[in-house]
């Protein structure tokens, strides 16, 4: 379970997270939604210790992330797969090497690494790209390889940072299916940062709506769909006007 306890974070004068408190339940997919710049991605980075809160703390499996020593933090990170907004694949490495890097770090044998790489690429339906470099892939393919790199680790948690941003509707649907399949096959707890309403409704069990660095509303997909909160309603209606299901 992941818990945010009154987490605050500012960059310069800008307050990005303002006493954010949120619980991400085990085994479910939680979507973090909200307007641009409300701190969704910043919140995600606190979970893996890429950022440290100015105030408050984040707990993962009962451990306070900010209090962990180096080895314990590395151990925690091995249980978390992180899918970056623009995939963040290593340019100089092939797809196979991108996927192998984290697996070798876990001390797995060459045979197991090769099997995991093949399985993960098959899961994202890209079995033939292992020897290509990221520059030779389309944006959608790179995002799928990013997911493959995360799931290859067999993580307990998968964090997706805007996985469908910039993708066409067909590729977006494929990404949604991929996230659902990854959760079903791995049983991982997932957190999806997105402002794609259709995607959130498709993949999430719960939705947390962030506004000005705080949680405005948390609920099931149905509760959010039927919300009476005017701000959340405005967001949903605006997105529905852009073609997303309301």
């Amino acid at each position: 379970m992941i818990e945010f306890h009154a987490v605050s974070k500012h960059f310069g004068d800008k307050v990005v997270l303002d006493q954010l408190s949120l619980t991400i339940p085990e085994g479910q997919t939680t979507a973090l939604m909200g307007f641009s710049g409300t701190g969704k991605s910043v919140a995600l980075k606190h979970i893996v210790g890429l950022l440290e809160p100015d105030r408050g703390y984040v707990e993962v499996d009962g451990q306070v992330v900010g209090d962990l020593g180096y080895d314990a933090l590395m151990e925690l990170r091995r249980t978390i797969g992180y899918v970056f907004q623009f995939a963040a694949l290593f340019d100089s490495l092939t797809v196979r090497e991108n996927l192998s890097l984290g697996l070798r770090r876990q001390g797995l044998s060459d045979q197991v690494v090769a099997e995991r790489v093949a399985e993960s690429l098959a899961l994202v339906e890209l079995p033939d790209v292992a020897d290509r470099h990221p520059a030779e892939l389309s944006g959608g393919m790179r995002k799928r390889v990013g997911i493959a790199r995360a799931i290859a680790l067999r993580p307990r948690y998968i964090l997706y940072d805007e996985p469908t941003t910039g993708l066409d509707p067909v590729t977006t649907l494929a990404m949604d299916e991929l996230m659902i399949r990854a959760r079903r096959e791995l049983g991982a707890t997932s957190v999806v940062v997105t402002h794609d309403l259709g995607s959130a409704f498709a993949v999430a069990d719960r939705i947390a709506f962030l506004y000005e660095g705080r949680i405005r509303q948390v609920g099931t997909v149905r509760e959010i769909r039927e919300t009476a909160d005017p701000l959340v309603r405005e967001f949903i209606n605006a997105r529905a006007g852009m073609g997303a299901p309301a």
């Binding site: 091995r78 970056f84 340019d91 984290g102």
Partner: protein, 245 residues
Amino acid sequence: MNSAREFLTLSGRWVVEGRRALADGSIWRPQLFPQMLKLGVQSVPVALFVAVFTGIVLALLSSYMFTRAIPLYFVGTLVTKAVMLELGPVLTGMALAGRVGASVAAELGTMRVTEQVDALETLAISPHAYLVTPRVLAATLMFPVVTAMAMAVGVLSGWFTAVNLLDLSSVEFLRGARQFYNFKDIWFGLVKSASFGAAIATMGCVAGLAARGGAEGVGIATTRAVVLGCQAILVLDAFWALVLL
């Protein structure tokens, strides 16, 4: 005051991270040889280009200075002493501060702004072990090799100039070169160049990993790496002169 505190905090963190990374050999060892090729072997042409013209200019300048007052065979002395003690290591270092420092900063800076460094961290891989340590070690090991080659080429080009453009024979040039030769002249230059390599690569890594924003941030980081690298060379040059001479 704040800058001084930030500098000390950053330095302290780099020392701690560096020690930890050095112990993590399974991560940096596979990267070391490719980096030695990239930062060392591929820098040889630039270093030799600088050395050739340094030798020519030194020979011509010394003959101009020594006219009548000092025997011309001292051209050999000045060329070898100056190339081995100072100009070989320092000019090679300056040239490589541009080539190596800029390339390291640009590469790591691009990785930083495209979240590849964050991706490494989420895979439980220390960027210091994977990116910094192999580059710093490779530059430290390879700069003396490149500098030794530059020294040899600098002396040879000085000799070639003296023999062909000045009224000096090879025997006289050699006599001058051997007159005040000291083995320390060689290792002093090589020790300096090893420290220059470490400093240039470290500055490239520091600037690159601190890059923020996008292309502009990478450009700023690259410029910063070259400036810091050149400054570090001058400071270290004075330091070694004080300590070893």
